[in-house]
């Protein structure tokens, strides 16, 4: 149940994409998503699709692994496509009960579906190829301008990176608690949704208690190691742009321009 949760787990291999600066990948993902909403024809889709496939190949990600990551969105995808298919007005092709399928509906369902797939693909490639720590320091730097508005950017980034570090630990703990409760006769597998939801309470209570205790101890340990917020802090791995990042930005600009001018 909770074991299958893999939110874009980092996939460690050596590749050009892995070595790109996290800021490039973060901004690049945003640019790519914008570009996705620019095209209206099949050719535009071909360009974006070709781009994403070549990125996956460059990043040396196994296609199976990438496709497995798409599983959680299947429901949303079908839901969206069916609604688009049935509720778009236009030239009617076929009718069934109160629904009617239109030519525009088929187009719209197809394109929305493809856009959603590529949107999720694009952003998961970022998390597949960037270590959590790099990702947070990239975000810290990209959103750094918000410090002017008194947004605690460093603290937020620190929170995210600590959360990422503790996900596997808390997962393991959840499994331990579940096993302990099962050993004492708890039943998580049978019954309706309400009964199952109720069965989660004896898991969540000890999990929360232990998470808070961990948080307290971790805070103490951080304080003991001189942590005092972002002021006067240096970085062991400061972000640095390389030539490959410039190339990446140029390619992205090319994609955006292409999507705008493709018929």
């Amino acid at each position: 149940m909770l074991r299958d949760l893999t939110i874009g787990q980092y996939y460690p291999v050596e590749s050009v994409i892995h070595r790109l600066d996290p800021r490039t990948k973060f901004l690049g993902t945003i640019i790519f998503i914008v570009a996705l909403f620019l095209f209206k024809t099949f050719w535009g889709f071909l360009l974006a699709g070709g781009f994403i496939v070549s990125i996956i190949a460059l990043a040396k990600l196994p296609p199976k692994y990438v496709l497995k990551g798409m599983r959680p969105i299947i429901f949303l995808l079908l839901f969206m496509m069916i609604f688009n298919l049935l509720l778009t007005p236009g030239e009617v092709i076929g009718e069934w009960w109160i629904f009617s399928v239109t030519k525009e509906g088929i187009y719209s369902a197809l394109f929305m579906g493809l856009r959603l797939i590529m949107l999720v693909l694009g952003s998961s490639i970022m998390t597949y190829t960037t270590t959590p720590n790099n990702l947070t320091s990239g975000m810290e730097s990209v959103f750094g301008f918000l410090k002017v508005f008194k947004v605690p950017v460093h603290e937020l980034a620190m929170m995210v990176s600590i959360a990422l570090r503790f996900i596997p630990i808390l997962m393991e703990e959840t499994n331990k608690i579940m096993k302990a409760q099962q050993a004492r006769g708890a039943d998580f597998e049978t019954g309706g949704p309400i009964k199952r939801a109720k069965a989660l309470i004896p898991i969540l209570v000890p999990l929360f208690v232990s998470a808070f205790r961990r948080a307290g101890e971790l805070a103490e340990a951080m304080e003991a190691r001189c942590y005092h917020g972002g002021d006067g802090r240096t970085k062991m791995k400061p972000l640095k742009y390389h030539k490959r990042d410039l190339v990446a930005y140029l390619v992205l600009v090319g994609i955006v321009v292409g999507e705008i001018f493709i018929p």
Binding site: R214, E223, R225, C226, H228, T234
Partner: protein
């Protein structure tokens, strides 16, 4: 380098209106003097105040009464806290809850980052610290895949990278298996000998403190006994009263002596006992 002058610390429990419900004296007029380069052990049962004492050395807690000086710096002055924490690092009991980063080397670099060490020097310090605890091979691994003893060694490296003069370890081996326990004790013993780092080890495992220069035994917020391991472990009965156990060999030798065998007053290792039994006259 660590000086306690009549230090008292009270945990005060208040009810919802803020009235004092109960006062628990965790430390009661403690005097303590630790010299640079010493290997100190603090023994005590649960609730004896030893963890509270440890947190005073690192300025995580400050005394209710009395003064703590770390290299002459008064821990009551908040401006001194960062300096004190850099001089006296602290290793905690639970290895998981003190590792911050998702990579071993990044975790070791966390302390130096906090005190504003330049990037190039952080890398040197991380390499040095990982080498000292023998964890260089794991520098790019995730801490989640390490054993308990390895995690504690990473935690020690994290402190070492801040170039401390003293390391306080608060029951660092309580959650480890025997192998991990041995790794940690060996590591800190080497640091004490080779790097001249003052070690303050808080524990209730007697066998870990045989190599210490000086032992303090705590009970109910007081230091009841202090002296070399040999002087302390003589007091088998007194230690039992404080809910502490002497090492197994010492206990055997003690009982044999009570039965009238002619053995030295305090035996600390198996070899010593064998020697004494082989050469000593049987009374």
């Amino acid at each position: 380098m660590v000086n306690f002058d009549k230090v008292t610390f009270e945990y005060i429990r208040r009810d919802e209106e803020g009235n004092v419900e109960s006062i628990n004296k965790a430390l009661d007029e403690i005097d303590l003097d630790v010299k640079k380069g010493d290997f100190i052990a603090i023994l005590g049962a649960n609730g004896s105040g030893k963890s509270t004492l440890a947190r005073h050395i690192n300025a995580l807690l400050t005394p209710t009464e009395g003064t703590v000086y770390i290299e002459g710096l008064d821990s009551k002055d908040e401006d001194n806290h960062l300096k004190i924490r850099q001089k006296t690092g602290m290793v905690f009991q639970n290895p998981d809850n003190q590792i911050i980063a998702s990579l071993v080397e990044e975790d070791v670099g966390f302390g130096p980052e906090n005190i504003g060490v330049p990037t190039k020097e952080i890398w040197e310090r991380v390499a040095f610290a990982l080498d000292k605890v023998g964890m260089t091979a794991y520098r790019e691994k995730s801490p989640n895949n390490l054993s308990g003893g390895q995690k504690q060694r990473v935690a020690i490296a994290g402190i070492l990278a801040m170039k401390p003069e003293c390391i306080v370890l608060d029951e660092p081996t309580a959650m480890l298996d025997p192998k991990g326990r041995r790794e940690v004790i060996e590591t800190i013993t080497e640091l004490n000998k080779n790097e001249d780092i003052t070690i303050i080890l808080i524990t209730h495992y007697m066998t870990e403190v045989i190599g210490a220069d000086k032992i303090f035994v705590m009970n109910k917020g007081n230091i009841k006994l202090s002296g070399t391991p040999r002087e302390i472990f003589k007091e088998v009965d007194l230690l039992k009263e404080y809910q502490l156990d002497v090492p197994q060999v010492t206990e055997i030798a003690h009982r044999l002596r009570q039965k009238g065998m002619n053995l030295p007053e305090c035996v600390l290792t198996v070899d010593e006992l064998v020697e004494a039994l082989a050469t000593g006259d049987r009374g």
